[in-house]
Amino acid sequence: MQKRVMEEDFRKGEGRPQLLDLIPNERDWMVKDVGVGGKCFGVSEEKKLELRLGLPGDEDWSSVKEKREEHSIESALSLGHYSKVSKTIGTNPSSVGAKRGFLDTVESKTEVFQQQQQQQPGFLQLQAKGKELSQKTNGRAEQQSLEKKACGSPAAHGSAAAPCGDGAGANNSSQTRTAPTPVVGWPPIRSFRRNLASISKPSFESQNGGPETAVKFKNGRKGLFVKINMDGIPIGRKVDLKAYDSYEKLSLVVDELFQGLLAAQRDPLTAGTQKNPEEKQAITGLLDGSGEYTLVYEDDEGDRMLVGDVPWDMFVSTAKRLRVLKSSELSASSLGAVSRKRTAT
């Protein structure tokens, strides 16, 4: 089925050759989707950041809108493309779009309703209802509503817009960062089923890491995502510790994650034009203290530890977040914590 091909294309990134320049190992990456957005909007690195975190800004949103309306919507492939594009857009621009979507539908509904109601207050109710509905969508990633809106505009307005609007009300495919505002009583399951995945007791095999473990991988595996921040870079990332089995791999991943960001920070003027990874400096020596940066983590007791000190499995089960610190700053702060820990034991 064409749709299936589409899905696999997206997983492998075949439909988007531009990805290869930016993200060598896209399989395991959550930022993969962003690559599409990056290409679409030109300045790859900075747009990658924006889109990932949903930096608000109407001007961004309208440029997105323009780009998207340029594309035709007929083929299923573009539809799929749309869905990927829209997924990359952060919450804030989306909510603007969603509200527009609703006002569209509210207006169309008004026509229908005014035929039935003789009095003006009916319209007010619709407006209020529209507000109600759009309030329900705030806090959810509205990328699907964008899709519908885009799809709705070339299609017939009026009756088509109304179901689109209804449908855009509450969708589930949110980003990992924002917990979607649930629609009351939806999906229609009993309350005891809602928390099954998170309340199952840890088994002998694995230790659940907390809220991050609710996020699942595309291939069905449960991920263990922890935040990772780098000194000097305001934007953090997330890594799935369960995707790796050694410190070396983790170090490589961190390097790949932040290389581009670091380059952009250093020289924002040239960052956009630099597409060649060889020109960027690799972040090395994260584990042995030899590099400019060192990788540390916060464990479940709140202590800051050097990454690499404990066996990998123990690290995975106790690490709560990661930081990439400047090695020069390391001796001042975290080693203090480490030595405190040692004296305590």
Binding site: Q116, Q125, D166, N172, S173, S174, G185, R193, L196, S200
Partner: protein, 575 residues
């Protein structure tokens, strides 16, 4: 027919099993009414507010078995406020006062207090069967009363209730003389259980065939219980967590192997995949399997288990089974009649675990499928059409696409055609739940084709009043209609007010119905109770509108011969 003596007529009526048949014969003539009412042993009350308990007692003095349902179905999803009603006490009181020899009581979605359970236990010496489904309001102390006083108790079946835990004492209240238990299900209890008391109880009840344990029961205990009760037919395991190297595990396997009669398995709380081989010996006999509480059983382990269950007729799983897993079900479980796939990741973050492909695979592999509850991330018209062709025997078809109002992702069309195909093909369809992007067209199809439809659930669907009207006009056998978040208003509501007297109930929430519409309905139909449920504070933005034109948040309409109820809380307006 007056030349038949009443005894003969009564004897003939004995052959009438269903409530509907008995209800029908009672309307033939006075004589038959008389015979029927005195010989009636079992009464089913679909809506506890449709008739007064005293009236039931007066009409059917010989009743031994009573079933009553309380809250509307959407209460399961927290759409009905807690204190709405549905109290069991008036029923138990009426029967106690009436001196009836009640032996069986089945309650669903009702508020049952410990006081009611105590009264029940003490009032009916022959009481044998208590089944509580989706009820609340009681604690384990109430269960203690039942255990203590019901000397000939055969069944204590607690399904998905909210039970307050007051300790494990209740189980020990079954006297040593209690040997009559056939069925014991306390899977929904959250608290600890006295393992020794449980094991002793099982040991002294030789007829026990159904036993569903709660999460607190360890595998060790399960092992011992299996050893004592190898004739079990239906087992709900406790927490199925063991270190698979331990001796406990080996004992467990041995004991499972001895249970040659086991047909149904459920529970598996906290089950980890490594424990599953313990049940392999009996998988070949299973007709029912419920793994929907076990999110840790996925992928290859799950598939391995399913491949052994050749006789499976009823399967409940989580959607982490995936389309691939469903394909395995399709190729293995040729006898499958009922499938339920529950969502494991409700927040919607993560993968699309099952899609239309899984359902299509099931439909082509399992032609006997007649009951479906399927939560998925997407569905296509093409898939639904295929399913309709493959499985024309559906009696229950409930599809829930997790994203409300989502269209066919391939064609971007509404799912009208797909559901249309279902109702057209499945002539025996009695229950249908819709989801996804739907226009009025789907309701036209439903009205045209779904002749046997008795219950319809609608959410985030339709464009205009026409949709609802199509359904009301078309579905002759409609008994329950529940609608949420759909653009149906007063015009639809008032189109055919007589229809509601042919139905048990109508629920509408977050629709366009106004207070005026409800009042009009109530005025026109005195034998309907029109309840408006308002939880919100009155002083919100709607205040500037004239009050009657305000939309009602929730409305529940039902036919009744009991008149307006007197136990409604403040936020429920009886119009």
């Amino acid at each position: 027919m007056t030349y038949f003596p009443e005894e003969v007529v009564e004897h003939i009526f004995d052959f009438l099993g269903s409530h509907r048949d008995r209800n029908a014969v009672s309307t033939v003539c006075k004589a038959w009414y008389g015979v029927e009412r005195l010989s009636r042993r079992s009464v089913f009350v679909g809506n506890c507010y449709a008739v007064r308990p005293e009236r039931v007692v007066a009409r059917f003095p010989g009743v031994r078995s009573l079933s009553v349902k309380g809250k509307p179905h959407f209460a399961d999803f927290n759409l009905v406020p807690d204190d709405w009603g549905g109290f069991a006490l008036p029923w138990i009181e009426a029967f106690a006062r009436g001196g009836l020899g009640l032996e069986e009581l089945r309650l669903k979605r009702m508020v049952v207090s410990d006081e009611s359970l105590e009264l029940l236990a003490r009032s009916f010496p022959s009481f044998k069967v208590l089944v509580l489904i989706s009820c609340e309001g009681f604690s384990t102390d109430g269960l203690a009363a039942i255990a203590t006083h019901c000397r000939v108790l055969r069944e204590l079946d607690l399904q998905e209730n909210e039970v307050e835990d007051c300790g494990p004492r209740w189980l020990s209240c079954f006297p040593d003389s209690c040997t009559s238990l056939v069925s014991l299900n306390f899977a929904c209890l959250k608290g600890e259980v006295n393992a020794a008391a449980l094991e002793r109880l099982v040991a002294r009840c030789p007829n026990i065939r159904t036993l569903r344990l709660n999460r607190a029961v360890s595998v060790d205990s399960l092992s011992k219980i299996l050893a004592r009760a190898p004739h079990l037919v239906d087992l709900g395991t406790g927490s199925f967590t063991i270190d698979h190297h331990a001796e406990a595990y080996h004992r467990l396997i041995n004991n499972f192997t001895k249970c040659k009669s086991l047909k149904s398995l459920s529970g598996f709380w906290d089950a980890s995949p490594r424990c599953l081989p313990a049940v392999y010996p009996i998988c070949g006999n299973l007709t029912g399997l419920n793994l929907s509480y076990a999110p840790a059983i996925q992928g290859a382990d799950l598939i391995k288990l399913i491949r052994l269950c050749l006789k499976l007729q009823r399967l409940w799983v989580l959607d982490c089974i995936g389309d691939k897993g469903l394909a395995v079900v399709a190729s293995t479980c040729k006898e499958l009649q009922e499938l339920r796939v529950f969502p494991s990741d409700v927040c919607g973050v993560g993968t699309a675990a099952v899609t239309e492909e899984g359902l299509v695979a099931i439909s082509s592999g399992c032609p006997k499928l007649n009951s479906l509850l399927y939560f998925c991330h997407q569905m296509t018209n093409a898939a639904l059409v295929t399913v309709a062709k493959n499985c024309p025997h559906f009696t229950r078809f409930r599809l829930c696409i997790l994203d409300p109002g989502k269209p066919d992702p391939v064609t971007n069309q509404p799912l009208d055609e797909g559901f249309g195909a279902i109702v057209q093909s499945c002539k025996d369809l009695r229950r249908l739940s819709l989801s996804g992007l739907l226009t009025d067209q789907v309701f036209l199809y439903i009205g045209m084709y779904a002749e046997c439809l008795e219950m319809l659930s609608i959410a985030f669907a339709g464009d205009s009043d026409k949709g609802m009207v199509y359904v009301l006009n078309g579905c002759k056998n409609l008994r329950k209609l529940e609608i949420r978040d759909s653009p149906f208003g007063d015009a639809a509501l008032l189109e055919d007010v007589g229809k509601y007297e042919t139905m048990r109930s109508l629920w509408m929430s977050s629709c366009y119905v106004t207070l005026k519409g409800c009042k009009t309905l109530a005025a026109k139909m005195p034998r309907l109770n029109v309840e408006v449920i308002n939880e919100r504070d009155e002083s919100d933005e709607m205040e500037e509108n004239p009050s009657d034109l305000r939309r009602v948040e929730k409305m529940y309409v039902y036919r009744t011969v009991a008149g307006p109820r007197n136990d409604a809380p403040d936020f429920v307006w009886m119009l």
